[in-house]
Symmetry: C2
Subunit: 143 residues, 2 copies
């Protein structure tokens, strides 16, 4: 049978376990994160949330992001030259290629690079707590 890891998080269960309230704004915001196929920033999440419930505030979006980030349910990415963008956690670890023209984010994974990073850190006498690998590029002109 399959390993029960790398599941998409069940946000409501996590909130309950953390002993915090399951409120309407939280439900809506987290629903948006679950549905998102992209990497929206706080303002974009706010826009999508307002489309569902006009009374939701940007503060609550930020507060919810911080709450979920703290419990490891979402990842925050501070790509260059823009606001933080969010992604639901739970998938495999991956890095990002950012299309500098469109802002699109493409996920990729390289075990070999991860391994080399570990070797480098070890050689320098460090344990890696976290890392960030971002490629900024432009679509190759298909001449």
């Amino acid at each position: 049978m399959a390993k029960a890891k790398n599941q998409k998080p069940d946000y409501e269960k996590m909130l309950r376990k953390a002993g915090v309230r399951i409120t309407r704004p939280r439900r809506i915001i987290l629903g948006i994160l679950s549905d998102a196929g992209d990497h929206p920033d706080a303002l974009e999440i706010f826009r999508r949330a307002v489309a569902v419930d006009g009374s939701i505030s940007l503060s609550t979006v930020y507060r919810t992001m911080k709450l979920m980030e703290g419990m490891g349910a979402i990842h925050r990415h501070a790509f260059e030259g823009g606001p933080s963008r969010f992604e639901q956690a739970g998938g495999d670890h991956h890095d990002h290629l950012i299309d500098i023209e469109s802002g699109d984010v493409i996920e990729f994974k390289s075990d070999r690079i991860e391994q080399l990073q570990d070797e480098i850190a070890k050689k320098l006498g460090y344990d890696i707590v976290h890392h960030r690998l971002e490629l900024y590029g432009r679509k190759r002109r298909t001449g």
Copy 2:
């Protein structure tokens, strides 16, 4: 004879070539960058500059950083959870390992990783314009 590349930039010559004025604040700020063995942020550069000339302003530090960055003479690094930190350009390309306890920055270089990045980007149909690889770690406890 050695290749004349990867030299430390001669800031005054660059400024002259760019047709901008060589002022006292610029001379002082750039002198600080040249002498810096670390990766100071704007405020730290400002502090060091004020120690030389108390009339220098933080705005001028920022303006000078932007000017030099524009001409490729310095690099700006937006490490996690802090202000931008600056480094004079001209050395070999390298990436960074950030000591999350002290904030110290250790430079490293991996041709193999660079090569793998290129392969990944190519496979995804992109040309890499720029990339960012940062390892955040903690000194290994030397039991």
